[in-house]
């Protein structure tokens, strides 16, 4: 079995005329927590969708457990997706089902387990995220952090090999954030799965990640352990990790010179 669960090789992807990635390559080691970081709007979520096979790259290859994702047939892709799961930024719980039914959903769809067994599994998963008592609530009755934890319980319902987290910490209060950080770490250790976190919350993710990939300018600008990244020589990496307002990534959106525009006397 190879060392990496996901390999991204020379991937180029564009939307319309806008090139999002150009010849990007990186790998996600098995059994570790990998963080993909980068400024907003550079297509980090797109990367997860490429790995999940919801989008296809223009060129290059992405493998999951050694098999090429873009080359998979629909049936193979659906089979592979049972071994990977994704935690969406919004949680994406089904709003017409209770928390219990949401977590039971993948089990009812993909297994032949009896309802008694499903109940046991669901209660175990909910216990793991601390929401066993909230099983009868509807998603609209949950706070943002609880919704994300419920979605996490659903994501681990089928015991996947890989979990992809899309901005798990965005918009969370410090307590929920701390809970989620610890939970991701402990799930990774206890269940022996591989985690891929897309985020721009530097401090939180550096505290748990084993491997960091920083994306900017249509490609990977640095990868390695958190320590290696903090000592990285690239000014772009440093600007991102330290959160400096101006640097290689400019603070100002492309515009005509300030004085010129103010004095030109236009209407807008």
């Amino acid at each position: 079995m190879s060392q990496s669960i996901v390999e991204v090789k020379d991937v180029t992807f564009s939307r319309g005329n806008r090139v999002i990635y150009k010849n990007m390559s990186f790998s996600v080691p098995r059994g570790k927590i990998t963080a993909i970081m980068g400024p907003s709007g550079i297509g980090k979520t797109t990367m997860l969708r490429l790995i999940g096979g919801q989008l296809r790259p223009d060129s290059g290859d992405i493998t999951f457990q050694g098999t090429s994702v873009p080359a998979m047939s629909r049936a193979d892709l659906y089979h592979a997706r049972k071994q990977m799961s994704m935690l969406f930024q919004s949680g994406a719980l089904f709003t017409d089902m209770s928390v219990f039914d949401n977590v039971a959903f993948p089990l009812r769809e993909h297994t032949q387990l009896s309802e008694d067994l499903i109940r046991l599994v669901v209660l175990m998963k909910l216990q793991a995220v601390g929401l066993r008592g909230a099983r009868d609530l509807m998603p609209s009755e949950l706070s943002g952090g609880m919704a994300r934890r419920a979605a996490l319980a659903r994501a681990i319902a089928l015991d996947p090999e890989l979990i992809m987290y899309d901005e798990p910490f965005a918009g969370q209060d410090p307590i929920s954030m701390g809970v989620l950080v610890r939970m991701i770490k402990s799930l990774n250790e206890v269940l022996g799965l591989s985690s891929l976190i897309v985020t721009h919350d530097v401090t939180e993710v550096l505290s748990i990640a084993d491997h960091v990939v920083i994306i900017a300018e249509q490609g990977v600008i640095g990868s390695g352990t958190p320590e290696q990244m903090l000592a990285h020589s690239s000014p772009l990496v440093q600007q991102f990790l330290q959160g400096l307002a101006d640097g290689p990534v400019p603070f100002h959106f492309n515009a005509a010179p300030y004085e010129e525009e103010l004095l030109s006397g236009g209407t807008q």
Partner: protein, 259 residues
Amino acid sequence: MIDLLQKLGHKTLSRFASIGRATQMLLGALLNVPNLRKGTPLLIKQLYMVGHQSLLIIMVSGLFIGMVLALQGYTVLVGYGAEDSLGPLVALSLLRELGPVVTALLFAGRAGSALTAEIGLMKATEQLSSLEMMAVDPLKRVVAPRFWAGFISMPLLALIFSAVAILGAHLVGVDWLGVDSGSFWSIMQSQVSLQQDIMNGLIKSFVFALIVTWIALYKGYDCIPTSEGISKATTETVVHSSLAVLGFDFVLTAVMFSS
């Protein structure tokens, strides 16, 4: 000039592409073996949401339309001493035209817009994506049961609409204006043919059901997942399906009744 041509070409191409995507969606939803164990509860739930929940508006509208039809028909017919023909007048206009058409228009406003908004919001809140990532096809799970529910319930609603409207016409024509009850029913019975009137009306209903449900599902499935996009898609569902229903009604009427 070239600019105009370019715009026209672009519009036409995107319209064709959209028809293509709509067809792809429908075929993706319908061309698979239904799983009875999982599919039946989903279908029943949608039949309840789409069909049963529309019953009230359909029945109330039917009652009033039948009453108005009787009132208007009576004032014209009584001038010729032909008020006994009120029964067939009402029944034929309802079964052939008003039943299927008005039901389809009400259905587009009541259930079609709800379908579009629901699916659009499922898209915006990433529920459709998460279904896909859980290896569950959203076309099978979300689109197919809603399509069948619309397709099954609209013709039934149209029949109920016509029946309630005829009762409304009876209420006004017979009970209030004094048309003879025996002739109201017996002339209606002799003038209405099962094949020509009731079956053709039903066929219309099935065609409208296909059009309205398809447009509503496609608009939701293909919408831009923002609040503005969903509101636009919902409006388009009502406008496009109403226009399509009226247009197809003309074509079907020409084919069915012109000879």
